[in-house]
Symmetry: C2
Subunit: 202 residues, 2 copies
């Protein structure tokens, strides 16, 4: 199995990004995470913050848009929604990355789905139990008004809805990936080792 | 992480059983698969074939039982269904295995759920894409009247429904396991290596 691109989908707070970064360093592969947002912002003229926020949204989940959608009018009347437009640009950015032929690790952004027709792509999903993630986000980001469990479950729901909207796939359903790892149980370094072992096999 | 019991849930045709057997041999652990059915048969007086067939059923899915269930009467009137009874015996057999304290590998039978309160349990889910599984079951079991794709998807549905019925958990949803492996992509031996590496770590 010749793997050139590893995509890492992850639950917020699971350490999936950190695992992806360490893996890319260990392999000497390029690493794409916020760089994708930067490129989408550059391409569209929207701010990075706007692009990042939209990428985590569950499209069509406002009361306002429900009204239009139930009338067969997605988004605002018949136009393309901003979410849909950003998806097409993000898709192009990810396809361009793959087209360079340089080995890389890509975090999030449904890259697993976008690159599903490409050879040499390996898709990993990283998750952990609630307690592990709560401890981790409190250490990394501090507390906020919203309870950490609520922050995490809101993020989970949004990511799942966003993924479902654009790919029609269940986020976190094992058969949609090549491997799924519980980082809380295994530890970040073991996750990196397992993925490194798979990519460098043979 | 001190692991004494590894449970292997698997899609039919994925080679999960073969991976579990090789892993148990490599670790020198006891191996439980059909042994559980044998013990349930011994305990209940039902034949092994009957116990095995019931264990793959999606309970409450017959037209006949639907009638009673919709009237608030599960199974035949108010009695326990055979499926439910077999579940309780199977649960006891698995708890007894765990209580011996001897390290082991257990295949299927929702052992991951049954042992969820036990320390030192590691839960793996093995799956593969349809083509890999079709090729594998045709080689192992030959063809039958039913198309192999249909045989596989029927089995998947039944196992998922059975698991859902007794555990209320989504079968194959990654966060319900500690690791999920695509045996078709990784190969059986690599799956064994990864699991062996996790168990023997430290």
């Amino acid at each position: 199995m010749s793997i050139k691109i590893i995509t890492i989908s992850r639950q917020f707070g699971s350490g999936g990004r950190s695992i992806a970064k360490k893996l890319a360093e260990k392999l000497g592969y390029d690493y794409y995470d916020k760089e994708i947002i930067d490129n989408v912002a550059l391409e569209t003229g929207f701010s990075k913050e706007f692009v990042a926020a939209k990428g985590e949204e569950a499209p069509g989940k406002t009361v306002f848009s429900y009204g239009f959608e139930s009338a067969g009018m997605p988004g605002i009347m018949n136009g393309m929604t901003t979410n849909d437009y950003l998806w097409t640009v993000q898709r192009k950015v990810i396809l361009d990355i793959a087209a360079t032929g340089k080995p890389c690790v890509i975090v999030g952004r449904s890259a697993d789905y976008i690159l599903r027709e490409h050879d040499g792509v390996f898709n990993a999903y990283i998750y952990a139990d609630m307690k592990y993630r709560v401890d981790r986000i409190l250490k990394l980001y501090g507390s906020s008004e919203k309870k950490p469990e609520k922050r995490l479950s809101d993020k989970d729901k949004k990511r799942a809805a966003n993924h479902k909207h654009f790919t029609d796939l269940e986020w976190g359903f094992a058969p949609n990936y090549d491997i799924s790892l519980n980082s809380g149980k295994l530890g970040e370094d073991k996750c990196v080792d397992i993925l490194y072992g798979i990519v460098t096999e043979k």
